[in-house]
Amino acid sequence: MAKAFQPSVFTANDLIEGDAVYLGETGWVRDVRDAAVAATAAALSALEARAEAGIAANEVVGIYALPVSLEAGAPWPVTRREQIKASRNTTIAVGPAAQPARLSDAA
């Protein structure tokens, strides 16, 4: 039996800022919960083509797809690595005045 398709979104890093970005419906967004979700392999290919256009347009670097859960009503990564990337910060307080990230989607 074929493995069920896992809903996925596309991520990258912003060329100038270097921070995590996600491909939304109309452009790159900072919040993974605003990312466009591909529910089928065909939809993922379409997202990939748009993500590659972001590279060509010199907006982002390092595109790749990642699986997400939709349990909370919006996409949230399923692996620890991608949860940390999506949280846009370290998971511990660092530096003189920083706040740690939250790894749940209820931030």
Binding site: I16, D19, V61, T79, N89, T90, V94
Partner: protein, 552 residues
Amino acid sequence: MYRYDEFDHRFVTERVAEFRSQIDRRLAGALTEEEFKPLRLMNGLYLQLHAYMLRVAIPYGTLSGLQMRMLAEIAQRWDRGYGHFTTRQNIQFNWPKLKDVPDMLDALASVEMHAIQTSGNCIRNTTSDPLAGVAVDEIEDPRVTAEVIRQWSSLHPEFTFLGRKFKIAVTGAEEDRAAIAVHDIGLQIVKNVAGETGYRVLAGGGQGRTPMIAKELRAFLPKADLLPYLTAALRVYNLHGRRDNKFKARIKILVHELGIEEYARQVEAEFAAMDKAAVAAPTDEVARIAAYFAPPKLPDQPAEPEAYTRMLRTDPGFAAWVGQNTHAHRVSGYRAATVSLKPVGGVPGDATAEQMRVMADLAETHSADEMRITHEQNVVLPHIALGDLYTVYRGLRAVGLDAPNRGLVTDIIACPGLDYCALATARSIPVAQAISNRFASTERQAEIGPLSIKISGCINACGHHHVAHIGILGLDKAGVESYQITLGGEPAMGPAIGERTGPGFSYDDVPGAVETIVETYLGLRESPRETFLQAFRRVGMEPFKEALYAAA
């Protein structure tokens, strides 16, 4: 300390201008990321999980007050107010913007620093003994050799595109504080039977996914032959090291596959055929470099100043710090001090801009304007008069840098891990913090005695877990962090690679597992004088394994 000459200044300034132009072209779209990536890496600029990361070279870990102050300025102006000192004696800034990097590099160049060759498949920053020029067991200051290597290896046309990165470490003392056995090439300054000074040369050490202890390539190499011999060693590696598989491309794999005898035969053949005079460092240039490392003129000081001995008696915190964090100095009336960047529950190796400025002030006023970054992610103030030690201690204490834990269970090495690093498979820093909090009591740390815990967030082993008494390796198991524990590793005193305890532990279970290991050690040691490593070597893995897994 070494000072740039006209050539050095021009070299670094021109390099910054070149990289500025490359960044401009990247931002304008004239360079693709594929074209730009190798250029930025050669200038120490990575792209991590949340941001770019700039790795700045601190040659052999030596810094002046002015330089440390500039690192503080950079942290505050272009980053988030702190920096991370690494196991390579460098510093990393975790949040720069691409457009700001040329200005950061200009700021570094103004204090004779740069980020060249802190990445890429080239010869990286040559590391050394943080007690260079201080240690009583030292034959010769290793930084002279390290600086000669730095100058020779900077943009070396033959060795800029090696099969893989190449790391050299140098020690000038009997006790190895530079972990030379886990470097691609390790150099130990020694004397031969005739009383001449030269090098014992090790090759093929390294960590990563295939950890290896280096083997002896030459028992004695005359000093004048240093660069020709290194050239021969690198040339054989460059010719025969693998390029088909990144994971088998380091010199350790070549030495392992050829055998040290065959590798040595090829190196000696290359060395014999070489025009040595054309490669060797000119004697007058070596003398010019050596002059920069002449011992500072330290004023005469009493061997036991009354105020110092009184404070030792009356301030237990100071006495604990002196006992654990200071080191014998070759000049009577002085000690070197380790500034621990491992406050209980802190981020190993991190320092805020304010802390950097305090260390710079103290170095300028009380330590002949010198600091050293250690591969254990601490800072050494090398030349403190005993009469000034209390002032230094109070200054450090005011900014939370007074932890009396050098070499103890909370002096944990940790790589940045998954909190920052794009290569990481698990977090390191919060694991270190949880362990540190668990062993917070100064009395308990003293009872446990010398014990190194080192944590890597992936198989690349930047946290040196293979050579830890208790090593922790974070891995990814189907999207979830899992940690392997190794015991009995050691970088220097009979170097050894740690042995795995067995199945891994979850993120939450690691501190408890470490506690079980420590309690097991305390229960089986023959006396409080038997260290963890000695006890492990005596009893082996079994008692620890049983304690860790028996209940499962």
